[in-house]
Subunit: 329 residues, 2 copies
């Protein structure tokens, strides 16, 4: 008898994916194993994704307000739709709450969700609520894609450049600041707090990537290295990351010294898009995008799923810790 | 400051529904407040529903195997699609599990889900897994409807007869038998266990109702009285139930004596369909249906949301307890 903690999250997903793999149909485009599931309703292509946030696992009410929690619970799902290049449309919210939860806290939660939903023209159209010993927020988001083209984890090819939107490490630094009660100047404090608590899903950027001809992408939720490893594995390639080219969040570089690179590599929860494409396509994306786009490495031949970190002198760099994975202890 | 426990589940839903009510669009058919949400993808009409099952709230691993749990977690969602008259198509599964959960238990859970999914041609196409202090299983099901016609809670009209599929009280009696370790003959034991642990979602029956011209329905999850009250409230009418016409589960009538009627009225979790229509339409449904269909009362003018219970002599009957509602203590 093997425990979930021994198998690990990815092993478990793989196992379950195999179990449900058998029955397919012509309309199903993407099942288990990508950021969202996709099928043809008719046209346009329908997308769906779900994520649960669990108290004292994904969030602590000591450092997060209910409103911020609502924002984030939806944001992580919109980010999954963004990572497919889709347009989010509708959300279902399943709320499990202790009976002693304040109603005002729940309405605050919804306020945060609705604020973000409005920003992206998403409608919350249903869900359920029930009693629970801990707070569990499960959001399902449905979206669609304009046509057959989607961003998947499995489309990276040898020779592709690897790029990311925005900057990295801010969310993890924000979490450390809040839980460790670290004191910085007010601008740094505000920037890091925002990076951790109010991530901006890159919905427009995902669609831009599709239009510019990008085919491989993932959102950075578990950390750059961990998520790039997912792309490398699904695409059966290796990856090289030039760590000196990482767009480390300026507030992190300024406040976390030597640890800044590690946070950018492994911190997670930045919800930026990581994508791969030819240098020419990435140049076109850079020109059209309203956010920074940085080339950080290259897809190379080699061991599937491997991510090699090298510094400016070409030396191997050892990542201080790997990304977040559930169940592993 | 009001607590969720003071407001109650329905109050909370109403409150949240109001908050998200504002932004609508032309494609949205049904938002918060019915068994499932519905919108036009293009054609056909897309349906989506979500339900969470939480350890020691909705189920106890002392009386339920993981496989039965998997069946039930999907069944309750298929039942919601059935109650709209739709066809379930895809499911997303969000699993929150303690790290010490056995992998074999999780695969058993999926086995139960897949068994039911195959029976109804549903594909499990995604989800997520994460760590949690208690087991939480959240299933989202997407479906579609052949055309514009759906079964809703708000379409009951004065003069409609009220009917139910199958028989009632079996699930609640099964739960009592299992938790109270009651001993019955082997046939009764098997029947009650099945009623509680392996509910059959009435998917084909829901579609039959639509074809025969029925417009108002709900599935019986919280108990006949509680769910009929939902229909009465949404339709702004009253309801009369003739308690001597209730199709009480034969194993319940035989084993629970005086309490059988109460279990049929308020037990919940039977996942039968309750619907209203003209006598003529119900006769046609009866003829076409492959399961029993029983007229149990009538939609009447009166206080919105009220459910009046009367016996064969026309006397008011006092229900021993009301249906299941989360948070209320």
């Amino acid at each position: 008898m093997m425990k979930v903690s021994e198998l690990g999250e990815f092993g478990l997903i793989e196992l379950l994916a195999k179990m449900v793999d058998a029955p397919q149909n012509e309309q199903l485009r993407i099942g288990i194993g990508d950021d969202a599931s996709a099928w043809y309703g008719d046209t346009p292509l329908q997308l769906a994704t779900v994520d649960s946030l669990i108290q004292d696992v994904h969030f602590s009410l000591g450092v997060t307000t209910w409103q911020e929690l609502g924002w984030k619970a939806l944001a992580v799902n919109l980010s999954d739709i963004a990572a497919m290049g889709g347009q989010p449309r509708y959300a279902l919210v399943s709320l499990a709450l202790p009976g002693e939860t304040e109603v005002a806290d729940v309405t605050d939660l919804y306020r945060g969700m609705i604020e973000l939903a409005r920003e992206f023209n998403v409608l919350i159209v249903g869900g359920d609520t029930c009693r629970s010993p801990v707070v569990v927020i499960t959001v399902t988001v449905f979206g669609d894609a304009g046509d057959d083209r989607l961003l998947t984890r499995s489309a990276a090819g040898v020779g592709d450049k690897i790029a990311v939107t925005g900057c990295l490490g801010g969310a993890a630094a924000g979490l450390e600041m809040l839980t460790g009660r670290l004191r910085f100047d007010s601008e740094t404090t505000a920037d890091l707090k925002k990076a951790f608590l109010r991530p901006q899903p890159r919905v427009g950027e995902g669609q831009l990537l599709v239009r510019q001809g990008v085919r491989a992408a993932i959102d950075i939720s578990d950390g750059l290295v961990a998520d790039l490893a997912q792309v490398s594995k699904a695409s059966r390639v290796s990856a090289r990351v030039d760590i000196d080219r990482l767009p480390v969040h300026p507030a992190v570089r300024g406040s976390f010294g030597d640890r800044a690179t590690g946070l950018a590599l492994s911190g997670g929860e930045d919800y930026e898009l990581l994508f791969t494409a030819s240098a020419g396509i990435i140049d076109a994306v850079k020109e059209a995008a309203s956010c920074p786009v940085t080339v950080i490495g290259e897809i190379i031949a080699g061991k599937q799923g491997e991510v090699n970190l090298v510094d400016a002198r070409g030396n191997r760099y050892q990542s201080p810790r790997s990304g977040w994975e559930h169940f592993k202890t």
